[in-house]
Amino acid sequence: MSELPRHARSADRRLPEPARRWVELVALYVLAPAAYARWGLEFARPIPIVVAAALAAWLTLRADPSFDRRELWRGEAVRAALPGIALRVLLGGAGLVALVLALAPDDFLDFPRQRPLLWALVMVAYPVFSVYAQELLWRTFFFHRYRAILGDGALWIASGLLFGFMHVVFRHWIAVAATLVGGLFFAWSYRRHRSLAAVCLEHALFGCLLFTVGLGSYFYSGAALGR
């Protein structure tokens, strides 16, 4: 295989290129979701695209000599993060229940009651196929790739806000608003614990709760097509 010499590649990747990173950040985290929300949703569902993008991000991180591969999981930090996760899920969960009871009380627990098998499948498949991919893209990749241009302070806020913005693909303000708050929680937690495992656990709990209590239609591309 013909490639750049290894030292040249490594040096190239270590060099900060602020302008290039800014273009990349805007293209990947602003323009791509906006374009997909406007034109793409009719032609392809979001989860496979997020998974494919996460695969590309994973490959990029893996080939980066400055990246610590332990950040792809770091399960040992979950224990320390658990009390905070439990508190946020309890408070956030109560907020979600209140939201669904206020907006659409008939939808409360509708999904598990109407389609229990599909609900059970979603509870298993959503964390496996969607959550890890999203967290890899909006946390690990984002934090590693854009720390140089955003700095530590703005990094987690940008990560959380852009995670919320990504949910414009569902074409409903509830999806954006809820994930804006959730995204800031996750980004803050990731900044504190540096654990993708912990943030995936929290994201999965919130996501499963959201589908269970009756807000799933705001986060489902099939429903978004009708909006």
């Binding site: 295989m1 392809a44 569902r45 490959l59 080939a63």
Partner: protein
């Protein structure tokens, strides 16, 4: 269509990302066939077509036509004939067990593509590969090859107008028309690959080629609006190839295992869906969940193909 186990002609840059794309492209196609919607915007078919043509002409000097044909017969024609016979039997069995006349589905034009519509790809790629090979032989000097590649790139953009101009001609002929630009595009890409000793220069040239093609497709869409959808899919397929070439060129074991299965996945997925996945999902009342139909058909077919490749069927899978 993944017709070769490896994407590297001897002495050329091996692009690991293109192998991965073939898996995604197969998933895109399976999604269309079992759920009625593409998984990746319909970029998969142009991707398969471009790669299949490009790899056939990615050596500096063309193979002797006889050798080229023998290889294509082994890798495409014989598998197509074999699976045509098998799937004819399967279709007759399906009809007989579902209260239909056993051979009511048979049509004379099926002699051109096979008993199930998705098999159209195999004879098409046989002819497309031959055309690209003949163009390769006709462009001897390096200058002629570069000129040929540039001409092919522009011709590919122009050919996007073909299906729109000819109107509805029925399946699979519309698919064949859709595929014509891939011959030119694959030829251009293959010729560039032949003269790509280093990845960085290949990346830059791919980016330029994409910009030229997308510009051409955009201009054509302004003149022939009906060509826009074709242009979008081709530009997307080419764009993914470019993007994959820019990603770190590192191998992974999963892709190396999956890629050789994709021809079999393409050929067998409708059968797996019809006989296995669809009845099972209907039984548990989940037949309406598109993601499950695709998400089960794809890996189950891969597992079946992997098992069959351990038998004497390896030569036709």
């Amino acid at each position: 269509m993944p017709l070769d186990a490896s994407l590297r002609p001897p002495g050329r840059v091996r692009l690991e990302g293109w192998d991965r794309l073939r898996v995604l492209a197969a998933l895109d196609t399976v999604g269309m066939h079992v759920a009625g919607e593409h998984v990746f915007f319909g970029f998969g078919l142009p991707l398969f077509l471009i790669l299949a043509v490009a790899l056939g002409v990615s050596k500096k000097a063309p193979r002797p036509t006889g050798r080229f044909l023998r290889r294509r017969v082994d890798r495409i024609l014989l598998p197509w004939l074999f699976w045509s016979v098998v799937l004819a039997g399967e279709r007759a069995l399906y009809a007989a067990t579902h209260g239909q006349a056993t051979f009511a589905w048979a049509r004379a034009e099926m002699l051109l593509y096979g008993p199930r519509i998705h098999l159209w790809f195999l004879p098409l790629i046989l002819v497309a590969g031959l055309l690209a090979h003949l163009a390769h032989r006709a462009t001897g000097s390096r200058r002629a090859q570069v000129g040929g590649a540039v001409f092919a790139l522009l011709a590919a953009a122009a050919l996007l107008a073909l299906p729109a101009q000819l109107g509805a001609v029925g399946w699979p002929f519309e698919q064949w028309l859709f595929s014509v630009p891939a011959v030119a595009l694959g030829f251009a890409l293959g010729r560039r690959l032949a003269h790509a000793p280093e990845l960085p220069s290949l990346r830059r040239h791919l980016l330029l080629a994409f910009a030229a093609f997308a510009g051409g497709a955009l201009a054509l869409a302004a003149l022939v609006p009906a060509s826009a959808a074709y242009g979008f899919r081709y530009a997307g397929g080419l764009g993914l190839l470019v993007l994959a070439a820019w990603l770190p060129n590192v191998p992974d074991r999963l892709t190396r295992r999956f890629t050789p299965l994709m021809l079999g996945v393409y050929v067998l997925h409708p059968v797996v869906y019809l006989w296995l996945i669809k009845p099972a999902l209907c039984f548990v009342e989940l037949g309406d969940v598109d993601a499950l139909r695709v998400g089960l058909t794809f890996p189950v077919t891969m597992a079946l193909v992997a098992a069959l490749r351990r038998t004497g069927l390896r030569s036709v899978l």
